[in-house]
Structures are given as structure tokens and as C-alpha cells.
């Protein structure tokens, strides 16, 4: 019986291969789309609820005054607070993009236990005025090591003397969690502020990040912070880090939702294609079905013969798609590395791929198989003759 199913498939090699290939590509695409979503999610999941973020209520790209730091620190329950400012410098060429932030080095490591750096490097970072630390991936990419000098052109903050900003690498950190990017550079706030002030500029702060005391009422703290600056000069928003990450992702145009829709559309298109193919195969085999039944095969057997063809094609395609996903994973991770710190193909994605493959096989084979089982042998034989 299996032989018959298989022979029917290889009787139309091009059609079978194309069908399986389309399933393969679609499953690959679905795995990748979902992996992007789960990767984004992983950042949100891993982010700490104990850290809160304060940003301008206008947008992430509008600065707040430096003076806010002391005032937020006075709110009861706020323990440590630090500034972060997006620097947006360019290393040699804009295509060498990586993120740089001016930070308060004293609080950096209390605030982010995810960031691993040995004690000597920490001390060196604190002691070096133009010191910076860089993530492992970033260091690997540009072959930077402690002691190297990194000249950056300040695209957003030009150096007052017209030249490049000079940073000295004090250490290379590694990241322990999906939410903490290890392709970032962090440098001394003081160097940033003093350099700008020397040129007559007043730096602002992109975000404040603060930690709360254990057991503190986070809701109350958030509303107090917001209320504190409600009357200006710049009103703020305050949210837990996870919320912030979600906002950040949704600023990218609600990508997860979009990807979800694309995935659904791909799947539906594939389903229609497979149904069409299987209907074609079913029509070609009407006469064969008549013969089976005349020979004494039951309706259920006719059903199985047709649905098996669909299941086998889809399963082969699905396995290839899943295999390809796993094979391509390292390459994709490198390709999207500029946007996402990690690329996670979760087990749940693979399980979903298997479920969709099986569903596809059943759904595509259902109509022809049902028709075959319902077909009266007399009509089936007449149809082919």
C-alpha cells in the first residue's frame, strides 16, 4: 500500500518536488519569522522588573535635563540611579554601526548584574577619564582589546575642537542575558559632559534608569516620578524596563504583529497551493480509486491512500524546512546581528513547525481523500473510461 502511495508521488516528480519545496520554504520562513518574535520577546522576558526607566513623555529621542537625577533620587524607595545617553558616533564609516552610550560608571555594574566584567577592568574604567567598555561581540568584530584607542566622529555631538572623540578601551564585558547586548560600547558620562561644556554645550539625558529598594511600591514610585515633573520643564514617562523594551519594539512599527500577519499569510497561501495540488492529484486518480474499490478496498482505504500522499509530501517538505532552519541559524544570527543581540530558535517554534506541517498534510489531503472515499466505484470507473 505504501508502495502505491509512493509510486503515485514519484510518477509526478516535478510536481511532488515543487510541492515539497514550497512547504520547505514556507516552514523555513515561518520558523524564522517566529524566531524573530521570540527573540524580541526573550529580551522583554529577561529584562528586570526591578529596574525602572524614565524618559521624556514626548519621545525617546528628546532629552531631559541633568538636574532630574537628583530629584528622582529623592523619591522614597529609589536606591541607585544612572544616566544613559545615546551617543550616535561613527567609527570610520557609517556602515560600521554599533551603539554607544554615555553612562554613570559608578552605578553601571550594580544596575546591570547581567554585565560581566572583571574587577581590574572595572577599576580601570572608573579611573580613566575617556575610558570605555565594549561588549565581547563588538570587540571580536573590530579586533579591539583593552588599551586600544577608538576614535569616533560625533554625528549627534560633534567634538568642540572639530576632531574625533577618543576613547580608550578599559575592558571587554560579556552578557549573561538576552536583554543585555554585548555589542555596545559604554563610556564615562563625565568625559561626555565636560567635553561638551568646554564647547559651550549643555548635554541632556536620554533616559534615567533607577533601581528600587526591595519591597518598595513600584506603582507609587512611578506615579511620584511622573507627578514630580508634570509641570515641566519636560514631563516624563516612567515604566519598568520590560515595559520600556516593549515600547521600544513597538516603535519599530509593531514588528511582532506584522510578522505574525506575514506568517499567517504565507501559511494560508501555502495551504491553498497544496490543496490545489492535491485536488489535481485526486482527480488524476479517480479511475484508480474505482479500481481499488472494485478490487475490494474499502472507502477508508481510498481515503488513506490519498491523504497519505499529501501527508508524505508535506512531511518531507516540513522536515527539510526545519532542518534548513537549524542549518541556517548561525548564518542568520550573524546577518541580523546588528539588530538583535541573539537569535533564538525556540523548541516551541520547532514544535509549531511540526504541528503546522501535519496540519498542512491533513488539510491539503482532506478534500481529495474525502472525495475518493465518497466516490461510488461505478462512477469512478465511468469517469476514467
Amino acid at each position: 500500500m505504501f508502495k502505491l502511495v509512493w509510486q503515485n508521488l514519484i510518477a509526478h516528480p516535478i510536481r511532488s518536488v515543487l510541492t515539497a519545496a514550497s512547504v520547505c520554504i514556507a516552514i523555513l520562513l515561518l520558523c524564522l519569522l517566529r524566531s524573530i518574535v521570540t527573540t524580541l520577546d526573550a529580551g522583554i522576558q529577561a529584562s528586570s522588573a526591578a529596574r525602572l526607566i524614565v524618559m521624556s513623555s514626548v519621545s525617546l529621542f528628546v532629552d531631559m535635563p541633568i538636574s532630574y537625577q537628583q530629584r528622582i533620587a529623592t523619591v522614597e524607595g529609589v536606591t541607585t540611579i544612572g544616566k544613559w545617553q545615546w551617543f550616535g558616533g561613527v567609527y570610520q564609516d557609517p556602515s560600521n554601526f554599533f551603539a554607544q552610550f554615555a553612562v554613570d560608571p559608578e552605578h553601571m555594574f550594580d544596575m546591570y548584574p547581567e554585565c560581566e566584567l572583571d574587577q581590574a577592568s572595572r577599576e580601570r574604567f572608573l579611573a580613566t577619564r575617556n575610558g570605555c567598555i565594549i561588549g565581547k561581540q563588538l570587540a571580536d568584530k573590530f579586533k579591539w582589546k583593552a588599551g586600544d584607542k577608538i576614535p569616533l566622529t560625533g554625528a549627534l555631538f560633534p567634538h568642540p575642537d572639530g576632531g574625533a572623540w577618543d576613547f580608550e578601551v578599559c575592558g571587554v564585558y560579556t552578557s549573561k542575558a538576552a536583554n543585555f547586548d554585548d555589542r555596545t560600547m559604554m563610556f564615562q558620562w563625565k568625559y561626555f559632559e565636560e567635553t561638551l561644556r568646554a564647547g559651550g554645550q549643555d548635554p541632556g539625558v536620554g533616559v534615567y534608569i533607577f533601581r528600587t529598594a526591595p519591597g518598595a511600591n513600584v506603582e507609587r514610585i512611578m506615579s511620584e516620578v511622573v507627578a514630580m515633573f508634570a509641570n515641566g520643564p519636560m514631563s516624563v514617562r516612567c515604566a519598568p524596563e520590560s515595559e520600556f523594551q516593549r515600547m521600544f519594539i513597538s516603535m519599530m512599527g509593531d514588528i511582532p504583529m506584522l510578522l505574525g500577519w506575514i506568517g499567517t499569510a504565507v501559511f494560508v497561501a501555502l495551504l491553498l497551493g497544496c490543496v490545489n495540488t492535491m485536488l489535481m492529484a485526486g482527480r488524476e486518480q479517480i479511475h484508480d480509486v474505482g479500481i481499488f474499490k472494485a478490487l475490494g478496498f474499502s472507502n477508508a482505504a481510498a481515503f488513506r491512500i490519498l491523504i497519505a500522499q499529501s501527508m508524505i509530501l508535506c512531511t518531507l517538505g516540513g522536515i527539510a524546512g526545519i532542518g534548513l532552519t537549524l542549518a541556517l541559524k548561525p548564518m542568520i544570527a550573524t546577518a541580523i546581528a546588528a539588530m538583535f543581540p541573539v537569535f533564538l530558535v525556540e523548541t516551541s517554534t520547532l514544535v509549531l513547525a511540526v504541528v503546522l506541517t501535519i496540519f498542512l498534510g491533513v488539510a491539503a489531503g482532506m478534500i481529495p481523500a474525502w472525495r475518493a472515499s465518497r466516490l461510488k466505484p461505478v462512477d469512478a470507473l465511468r469517469a476514467g473510461a
Binding site: K3, A294, L295
Partner: protein
């Protein structure tokens, strides 16, 4: 002698576009075990319809139909399919074989419904193909066989599971004289040596002459039955 096939007051009509077409109109017929019958009649007289009813491929509208001891009105669905597998073998006019399977695989197909082991199935199918003189064509696909060879493979398949009744609908209809004779020789031999009850629909008087009885069907009713037709030697052309 017992009746292998007993038809009592069988009616069958088809409705097509609101019109009802009465094909069989209270038909009565008895066919003895181990005899070779030819079923003749003008086109549209209901020969194929009757053959399909006898083979359990379709149900009569009314009447009784006993074939190989079973009342076909009583059985249905999977049970009827099973009955077909055990009791009847079909040979149709053309397109008998599954095109993607080899001759041997085609013959083995009905055997997969029996409890036979793979080795036994193989033995049976080879024996059946040997009987029809095509053992050397075992691994050919239907497309690689001539029409006459295809028909002989179909006969091998029909007898592979050793049914009591063979039903053939114009088995020689598409064949040249020589191939037709081979097929008819084969049917006659199966009847004589293996005591198969055979019902063969044909338009060809030469073919019908090879049978022991000729049943004439006219507008859904039984016409003349000629018995004891002496076996005719293969005419030379």
C-alpha cells in the same frame, strides 16, 4: 446444480437532470455455478449496470440479488467491499491497471487485502501471471504492455485471490482479433480448469460463442437464453 447468481425482480434506474431512466425493469435471472455466460444486448440495454450490481459495485433499487451465497441487499459499505475482495474478480474494457504500479504489483494489490504474507503474495501473483503467460513481463508498467497483455494482467489480478465469480465487461472490446482470442482462451480455460463462474459482457458474437450460455438483455428485460453453445474453435482469419 446450484445457482451462483440469482437475480429476482431487480430494478435499477438512474435519474439524470430530473428525468428518471429505468435501466433494469424487474429482471429475473439464474446463473449456475461453474458456467461461462456471455451477456449480450444493444448499447444502453443495461449490461454494465447488471454486471456492476452482480459484482456488488452498486445497489439495486429493489429486488433480490444473491451472488455466491450472499444477499447483496443485506450488506453495505466496508462489508460489501470485503465481500468483493473475497468473491468476485473484475476485468473491465480498458484502463484496468493502476498505471504507476508494475504488472506484479497490480496483481498483488487485491492480495494485500488477504492475510497472506509478503512471500505468499509474491508466489500467488507470479503463479497468476504465469497462468496468463506473462511471467516474463512481471516488472513492466502498464504503459509498457500491449492492450492484450494489459487485459491478461487484469485477468491475472482478477483470479489472484481465487474468487468464485469472474465478471468481465467487454474484455476484448479494445483488442485486435489475435489478442482477443488469447483473452477468450484464457477465460475459457479458467472456466474449464478452475471452475470459475464467468459472466462476460460482449458485443462480439465470436466472443459470445466461446461461452456456454448467451444471455440477451433487451431494454432492461431478459431476452433469449441460448444454452449449450458448442465451444467454437478459434476461427482463423
Amino acid at each position: 446444480m446450484t445457482s451462483m447468481i440469482r437475480v429476482r425482480n431487480v430494478t435499477k434506474s438512474y435519474s439524470r437532470g430530473g428525468e428518471t431512466l429505468k435501466v433494469l425493469n424487474g429482471l429475473n435471472l439464474d446463473m449456475d455455478e461453474g458456467r461461462f455466460y456471455a451477456l449480450m444486448g444493444p448499447s444502453g440495454s443495461g449490461k454494465t449496470t447488471l454486471l456492476n450490481l452482480v459484482g456488488g459495485l452498486d445497489h439495486p433499487d429493489s429486488g433480490e440479488l444473491y451472488v455466491a451465497g450472499a444477499n447483496l441487499a443485506d450488506i453495505d459499505g466496508a462489508e460489501l467491499a470485503r465481500w468483493r475482495a473475497d468473491n468476485v474478480g473484475f476485468v473491465f474494457q480498458g484502463f484496468n491497471l493502476i498505471p504507476v504500479l508494475t504488472a506484479r504489483e497490480n496483481v498483488e494489490l487485491p492480495l494485500t487485502l488477504t492475510g497472506l504474507s509478503r512471500a505468499e503474495r509474491r508466489k500467488h501473483s507470479e503463479y497468476a501471471l504465469e497462468l496468463v503467460g506473462l511471467k516474463d513481463r512481471m516488472d513492466h508498467r502498464p504503459r509498457q504492455l500491449s492492450g492484450g497483455q494489459e487485459q491478461r494482467v487484469a485477468i491475472a489480478r482478477a483470479i489472484a485471490s481465487d474468487p468464485k465469480v469472474l465478471l468481465a465487461d467487454e474484455p476484448t472490446g479494445d483488442l485486435d482479433r489475435k489478442s482477443a482470442e488469447q483473452v477468450l482462451d484464457l477465460l475459457a480455460r479458467l472456466n474449464q480448469e478452475f471452475k470459475k463462474t464467468i459472466l462476460m459482457v460482449t458485443h462480439d458474437p465470436h466472443a459470445a460463442a466461446r461461452a456456454q450460455s448467451i444471455v440477451n438483455l433487451e431494454k432492461g428485460e431478459l431476452g433469449r437464453i441460448d444454452h449449450n453453445v458448442p465451444p467454437v474453435a478459434a476461427p482463423v482469419r
